[in-house]
């Protein structure tokens, strides 16, 4: 059983992981890095589920498994898109492409 005082550290961890993930997505340095950021955001939610599952009930831990599956799915689709992107443009830096003014 987790002590209630410890929870704040874990919340801090998950919030910072989420913030780093959002920053990585918005900074758009490279597509691979953005893919990692997506994983970070999903795993930030996962940390919350697992940690608070120790305090509340087992539902959160079960949902964490679903979330891991979702993360794997998103990584698979994301990598497929990245491969298409790389084959087309020969690089993985999205900000160099200007058609859609991203």
């Amino acid at each position: 059983m987790l002590l209630a005082a410890d929870v704040h550290y874990y919340l801090f961890l998950s919030f910072s992981l989420f913030a780093v993930g959002v920053y990585g997505l918005l900074s758009r340095k490279s597509v691979i890095r953005m893919l990692f950021s997506v994983e970070m955001i999903i795993n930030a939610a996962n940390i919350n589920f697992v940690i608070f599952s120790a305090q509340r009930n087992v539902h959160g831990e079960i949902f964490a498994f679903f979330t891991i599956g979702l993360a794997a799915l998103e990584a698979a689709i994301g990598l497929a898109i990245v491969i298409v992107f790389y084959k087309r443009f020969g690089e993985v830096i999205p900000s160099k492409i200007r058609n859609l003014r991203w």
């Binding site: 597509v31 997506v38 996962n46 689709i77 898109i81 991203w102």
Partner: protein, 474 residues
């Protein structure tokens, strides 16, 4: 959830999943793919039609009520029409069976999404709906489509990540995934409020509400317009219904409970800004696809007006009606654009000059959908706007209804502009880019969609019954 409804979802998803496999083994043509998937669609409609009897399973996660039954049938119909037009456009393509399979899986996800009553099922079914579309956006594999795919993928995952993080915070504070706990603790705990903000932001990405609307037009413009029809029409309408379930099943409503008041103001402001931004930016565009894309942002605003009026039961009618009308008219408008783009290569406003003479029936259908989007009486777009703005007035937000009406009047400008280009100008395009012998076949699904739109503009009972049942079940 009714077991027949679940079977319908399973039939659609499995048909979609096995169609590429069958194609890989037997090398079937696109027409055989259309036939197989049509069997799936018909079976889905029949199974939903008998879903008022039979056993109930998974009751913690999904519910089968009038709303999910009505919207489910309409989603399947819209998706069927979309699939046939998409096949008509792409039937020479190597991957046509794969894209039909992806449409089917996405439809199955939309069916689950509109009936989910729990954050677990909501997220899973939203992912099921979105995942195939990430790949479909890439589909034509030119530069713009791949960029749109990258943009759509990362915005979509950001949306899901926010939704997931919000739900995890909600679980952390309450230990439950039910919609109703969101309201019980909402104004008592700042973290739950933060969770609500994250959840709303995730939905905002999906429905292209104001601060998160920027990705929408770029993606809808970049991808092939048949896929954009799926994104704007079906998946956005399903997201509206899901948001309706979240909001209405979680808040104590219809009365003096102060709870809904703060939320009302937030929704009203977002709705007003979304409508105005969408319409103003649509006026500035020259490409027809971008006009349609920004008008879909504006329509998200109209639906949010009904969300803002959530203290009156009429708002449920408004949301439902506008989702139904929006699903058909936006899907059909994008499909018309897709056909015109395929046959005539018409992209910008100048290309649309005189298309009414070149393609009389198709242009007339496009005009029907545009007028419905603008809100002209015999079509469903008019009656849905009536319900939305009446709900806003009844909830005591006359100013919001006025902004909505003003925006509605604004929006007529660019719809009529397209119509004027089609009918009053001299033709500029001489020869079709792709001339097809079976040109008239594509008019059947589009005509059917126009008929459904006009039918729902006159026959209001099904939606009113569904809304009444939803309200009485709250």
């Amino acid at each position: 959830m009714n077991v027949n409804f679940l079977t319908a979802v399973m039939v659609l998803a499995l048909t979609g999943a096995f169609l590429p496999v069958i194609n890989r083994i037997f090398r079937i043509t696109g027409l055989a793919g259309v036939a197989i998937s049509s069997v799936g669609y018909v079976a889905g409609i029949l199974l939903i039609a008998i879903s008022d009897s039979g056993n109930e399973i998974l009751n913690n996660f999904f519910v089968t009520d009038e709303v999910s039954r009505l919207i489910g049938v309409l989603i399947i119909l819209a998706s069927w029409m979309l699939m046939s037009v998409l096949y008509w456009i792409l039937n020479k393509d190597k991957y046509v069976n794969e894209i039909i399979g992806a449409v089917l899986i996405s439809t199955a996800g939309a069916l689950l999404l509109i009936s989910s009553t729990n954050f677990v099922s909501l997220i899973i079914s939203m992912e099921l709906m979105t995942m195939p579309t990430y790949l479909m956006v890439l589909f034509v594999f030119d530069d713009r489509a791949i960029e749109a795919g990258i943009k759509y993928f990362f915005n979509g995952t950001l949306a899901v990540g926010m939704l997931l993080f919000g739900v995890s915070l909600l679980y952390a504070m309450t230990g439950s995934f039910e919609f109703s706990v969101l309201a019980q603790k909402l104004f008592k705990d700042p973290l739950v409020m933060l969770a609500a903000v994250f959840i709303l932001a995730g939905f905002g990405f999906k429905i292209t509400a104001f601060p998160f609307h920027f990705w929408g037009p770029d993606v809808y413009d970049g991808t092939c317009p048949g896929v954009a029809a799926l994104l704007t029409g079906i998946s956005k309408s399903a997201a509206f219904i899901a948001l309706m379930r979240v909001v209405f099943e979680s808040l104590p409503l219809f009365g003096e409970g102060g709870m809904s008041h703060q939320l009302t103001i937030i929704f009203a402001i977002i709705a007003a800004i979304t409508m105005t931004v969408g319409n103003l930016l649509a006026l500035a565009q020259r490409r027809v696809s971008r006009i349609l894309a920004y008008s879909s942002v504006a329509h998200a605003g109209y639906t949010l007006v009904a969300f803002a009026a959530l203290s009156t039961p009429l708002s449920v009618t408004g949301i439902l009606y506008h989702s139904v009308a929006y699903m058909f008219m936006k899907t059909a408008a994008f499909l018309c654009f897709a056909v015109l783009l395929f046959v005539w290569g018409a992209k910008t406003m100048d290309d649309y000059k005189g298309l009414g003479k070149r393609e009389p029936i198709l242009a007339a259908l496009f005009l029907v959908f545009l007028l419905s989007l603008a809100g002209v009486p015999p079509m469903a777009g008019f009656i849905s706007k009536v319900f939305v703005f009446t709900a806003a007035v009844k909830a005591g937000m006359l100013w919001l209804a006025l902004i909505g009406l003003l925006n509605s009047a604004f929006s007529v400008a660019y719809y009529i502009w397209i119509a004027k280009q089609m009918y009053l100008e001299e033709p500029t395009l001489e020869k079709p880019v792709n001339d097809r012998k079976d040109r008239n076949l594509v008019l059947i699904p589009l005509g059917l969609m126009a008929a459904i739109l006009i039918l729902f503009g006159i026959w209001v009972n099904p939606v009113l019954n569904a809304a009444g049942q939803f309200v009485s079940g709250l």
